[in-house]
Symmetry: C2
DNA sequence: TGTACATCAGTGAACGCGCGTTCACTGATGTAC
DNA sequence: TGTACATCAGTGAACGCGCGTTCACTGATGTAC
């Protein structure tokens, strides 16, 4: 079918538009992403882009979901490829590496939310995928048992539907008491995952935002210290 | 002098403008802060505001430095008022409380940086004041000695010039090796302060950005856990 | 292989809008004698 | 207390700009016979 070629071109143009949008994001932030400017950069006029996106919001949404998916996939893959004992470290470094390579995309999803922009529910679902990978990685840490659905040995299988993380978290947390210091209860595991998330985000986001600039120390050393502290179970 | 009254009105108008700007910040983010709209909300025309600010950038800068100062002062005061044993907890809660009360101002200074906006050096200096308070609070933790200039007993004395934190940090870090696990060396103290900063920021920023929404757990419990972990020296 | 028709990509003009900023000007408020 | 002058606050018109989005239209690319 010749229609397939047309379809391919279509996809290609969409991708190009998003790529240009990302450079605008890097240069001028979310507010700097402009339909007209993207079109111009691609050598066409503004309205042409409306053949590919219903409007600016759809483009933005696409950028966001892409970023979530990208990060989740990169992380899941890194974890899957690592030896069992290295899984947690692999997780941490995968997230940080991704963020450092594409700071603007990281901030797009984990930075200050775009005001008056409501993310579609789809977004939350993809975001949960990363959380799931973190959970699995935490389960590989010493003493943690592995009764998670989706065996920790193969974390983040792509096709598998994401379990209802929210409800799961809620259940475990109210069941075991919040982060009870008992020996690796379920609540403990969830707490670990959450703390992993927040701590990694703490170092990564401040680093990526340039808040460490001029402070005369190596952010990656600080990051390493946090990772080891997490492994130590602190 | 009648001139004093005029001066007072002037200051008052500036403050009102900034207050309106803050509501705009809350509603539409940094990009939503508009000179014309602020003026209209105050019942005057756009150009009138140019009697009070040289332009939009000065207004923005003022908002940012105000936020830094406000947070630093609130924190320093809370620490100073606390009993020695409670200083660290007081620090942590002061920062979080401030952020939760004024999420937009917190994100203004510790969120995604305004693109193409260069903060004046003055900003860094004020930001260092908070870091200084954190350092002092960390020094009150078990085993830490207190040879910091500006006695930890009275942290954050307002008038005192901020010591060159950057150089200080660099010196200590290269001197003692980065966060050597020795018993409360200077490097260790600095590492603690940094980790305190990044961890608190991790929980606070994600919370304030609404990333925990719908996850079915109480963010303040997570925060508490992090504070206690920091005190435990983990 | 050729022709008739449908679908799609892209253009150019136009819409209303709000932005930051400048400029010349009017009144009001202050100061000095 | 009254008058002459200087300073300041605020207005209204105008500048150029870029934005998202719509609309009618032209060509090109595909499909069906």
């Amino acid at each position: 079918m010749a229609t397939a070629r047309r379809e391919r071109y279509r996809k290609q143009t969409r991708e190009e538009a998003k790529a240009v949008a990302l450079t605008q994001l890097a240069e001028a932030g979310t507010a700097g992403i402009s339909v007209n400017a993207i079109a111009k950069a691609m050598g066409m006029t503004g309205p042409a882009l409306y053949r590919y996106f219903t409007g600016r919001d759809e483009l933005l949404t696409e950028l966001i979901t892409d970023a979530y998916r990208d990060l989740a996939e990169a992380t899941a893959q890194a974890v899957a490829e690592a030896a069992p004992a290295d899984r947690f470290r692999a997780l941490a470094h995968a997230i940080r590496d991704w963020a450092k390579e594409q700071p603007d995309r990281y901030l797009l999803i984990y930075g200050t939310p775009v005001p008056s922009y409501q993310a579609p529910p789809e977004t939350t679902e993809i975001a949960a995928r990363l959380m799931r990978t973190i959970l699995d990685a935490c389960a590989t840490l010493d003493g943690a048992h592995a009764e998670q659905p989706g065996e920790p040995g193969e974390p983040g299988e792509p096709g598998e539907p994401v379990t209802d993380l929210e409800a799961e978290l809620a259940r475990h947390l109210e069941g075991a008491g919040p982060w009870a210091p008992g020996p690796t209860s379920d609540g403990e595991l969830k707490g670990r995952a959450l703390r992993t998330w927040t701590r990694l985000h703490g170092v990564i986001s401040l680093d990526v935002q340039g808040q460490f600039r001029g402070m005369g120390f190596d952010p990656s050393v600080l990051f390493e210290a946090e990772v080891e502290a997490l492994i130590r179970g602190a």
